[in-house]
Symmetry: C2
Subunit: 394 residues, 2 copies
């Protein structure tokens, strides 16, 4: 059980909570902070002064005072001055961004390789190159307070080791330390589904929802779960391998060694197969099927209908098991879900318990392909909120 907090612990917690509030919800007045945090005015004043002196926030007169007495100062994150580096490894693309305090994407670089994977070394080189250019462009006055990377793989976060990423072909790679060596600062690794969930929960379509399932479609199916407002990690940080939930025990072999995994029924390969198509996977191929169905192509329609039925079965299972308030479709499922919504909803209505679906919302991702990148930024900012002033002292 935790030790009792000291006065200094409480001050640090309050500084972190205030800064995180400004980061997540945007500019906020001292009066709103006083009401929202349950602290008195003078304490809020002392905390904002500390954060201002540390160069983390600015305090400004509000633009519209409304003419009712002395206006309360507005506290705003110094997004241009305080930032993190967020990296994303996709099956066929690499992306890096400088994300300012407040969650603003200030600068972004991306490279695609539609025909195949990146090797580990190539990915490290290119991401480090992006990182160097993003840092240079930030200017001398700006300070980087963290870095994190989203990868389509199970990761050991403590060690920064990418455990197993079947769809990029990487296994047991110390990707965190490798990228850290290349950019000169620690890089925290996270699973892209888990970070997509965190991104959507913090500043996407699931903001304000405490119980959320995020489903990320790519070559494989990944995901992340927010339970009672927190990411569901599991004993090893490997929770939410939703693509490897068996929905069809008599189904096809999955690269994981099992049969009939959800991924084998709703992944990109399953959609193309169900629509009677061959050729390379990827978002262009998925888009082509959705587009053809919209134009009345019967094979594409049938493919989407079949995949929609399996999406519905898997969603119903997740709903019965986790009782989320919202299910978010991200990655290429952001295209597939709207084209299969009738099928998915019909199946969910037959398969999920009435009590569980009564208040359920099914939504597409608001952050689109950048949901995991936003989640990586949140992961990178987390240490700042643990102890805001430590970062200034250094």
């Amino acid at each position: 059980m935790r030790a009792a907090p000291t006065q200094e612990d409480i001050r640090r917690q309050n500084l972190g909570a205030l800064l995180r509030r400004v980061h997540v919800f945007g500019p906020v007045s001292r009066a709103q902070l006083t009401a929202g945090m349950g602290l008195n005015r003078s304490t809020i004043g002392a905390l904002t002064t500390d954060l201002t002196e540390a160069g983390l926030v600015l305090e400004e007169q509000p633009r519209d005072t409304g003419g009712r007495g002395r206006p309360s100062l507005v506290v705003r994150a110094r997004s241009q001055r305080v930032y993190v580096l967020a990296f994303g490894v996709g099956v066929d693309r690499l992306v890096a961004a400088r994300v300012g305090l407040g969650g603003v994407v200030l600068d972004r670089r991306e490279i695609e390789r539609p025909d195949g994977h990146f090797t580990v070394e190539d990915a490290v080189d290119r991401l480090a190159g992006f990182g160097a250019r993003l840092t240079e462009a930030a200017g001398a006055g700006a300070r980087c307070v963290g870095a994190a990377a989203a990868v389509p793989a199970m990761v050991d976060r403590e060690a920064g080791v990418l455990h197993y990423g079947p769809n990029i072909g990487w296994r047991s790679v110390p990707f965190g330390p490798m990228l850290a060596d290349a950019i000169g600062r620690r890089v925290i690794l996270g699973n892209d589904g888990e970070l997509g969930a965190l991104g959507e929960h913090t500043r996407g379509v699931a903001a304000g929802y405490d119980d959320v399932v995020y489903i990320h479609g790519d070559v494989g199916i990944g995901g992340g779960v927010i339970a009672a407002g927190r990411p569901l990690g599991g004993a090893d940080g490997f929770a939410a391998e939703i693509g490897h939930m068996v929905v069809n025990p008599d189904g096809r072999a999955c690269p994981c060694g099992s049969h009939g995994c959800w991924e084998t029924e709703i992944g990109e390969a399953a959609l193309l197969r169900a629509a009677g198509r061959a050729g390379p996977l990827g978002r262009d191929a998925v888009h082509a099927v959705v587009d053809a169905a919209a134009r009345g192509d019967k094979d594409a329609e049938e493919g989407l209908r079949r995949v929609g039925n399996w999406i519905g079965i898997g969603v119903a299972n997740l709903v019965n098991l986790l009782n989320p308030r919202m299910v978010v479709f991200g990655g290429t499922l952001r295209m597939v879900y709207p084209a299969t919504a009738a099928q998915v909803r019909s199946r969910v209505n037959r398969t999920a318990l009435p009590s569980h679906r009564e208040h359920l919302r099914l939504r597409t991702s608001a952050l689109a392909d950048d949901a995991p990148l936003h989640g990586a930024a949140e992961l990178a900012f987390a240490a700042l909120f643990e102890n805001p002033l430590e970062f200034t002292a250094s």
Copy 2:
């Protein structure tokens, strides 16, 4: 976000944490409390004095001092003096117990009705009768600090309403308020699977494990999940309806309206059917199948083999989704699992991801049929740990 704690909040939290520590881990010395809670000796002394004066704990000289200086006083829960009432509604039985601080079952009453359900009114009458006799037997010096009931149903905990309990045939019953009226104090309701998980996590086979799935076999299949040390509730408190995870989309109709739910493949009816047997359900029928298989009955062996395969598929799904460190088989699965372990493990090895099963333990419940009852006791004690001294003042 939470308000900042006052000194009084911190003292109350420390009192609750100390009392809960004694409740969960048993008698403990002041020296151990000082080390374990990260508080200094004088603070621990003040807290234990407060709890002693409130009649919640006793401080005693240790029996074996080992002869090394002045021994540290041992703090012990006053189990006979401070208790809760825990109730359990099963498909074919009702149970009630007086559980002392420290988790000791001091007194226990049970009634079986093998041939059918209890009506709501009958259950309330009989449980209230048990409650009155348990309270009377406790004597005048003992104090009841709470009451809770485990029911095989989805519940709205705030309102105390039993939402839907298919296997007892109850729906939209304000069971909490009804039982409260009958016994003269508030009764908190909880789902029996969720409370079974809480019981096993607090003082059963899963004690010390932060990520646990508990599977409760009865006529239906219920369950509960502990994630990062806390019960997984979901948005409405309906999480872990694991019996209604679809594992066989072409399978039999389930009373829930879906097809091929896990419950239809591994519940008591499925086992009897797979073993070629008819007749009433219940633990005697399950025991007869397990017993027959042990004696070499081929039909019983085949039934257990088939059910074991489906148990394995469902367990693998839960393992891939939730990444628990331990899966606990409770209720009648406590008999079925040992008889199907080879089949279950073989299927889990083929279907769960290697990373997820590397450190996984499959175990039978230690608290047996009383796991939900112990969980109900924990639920009833929770308010005491929120504010230990408030209970004395009253």
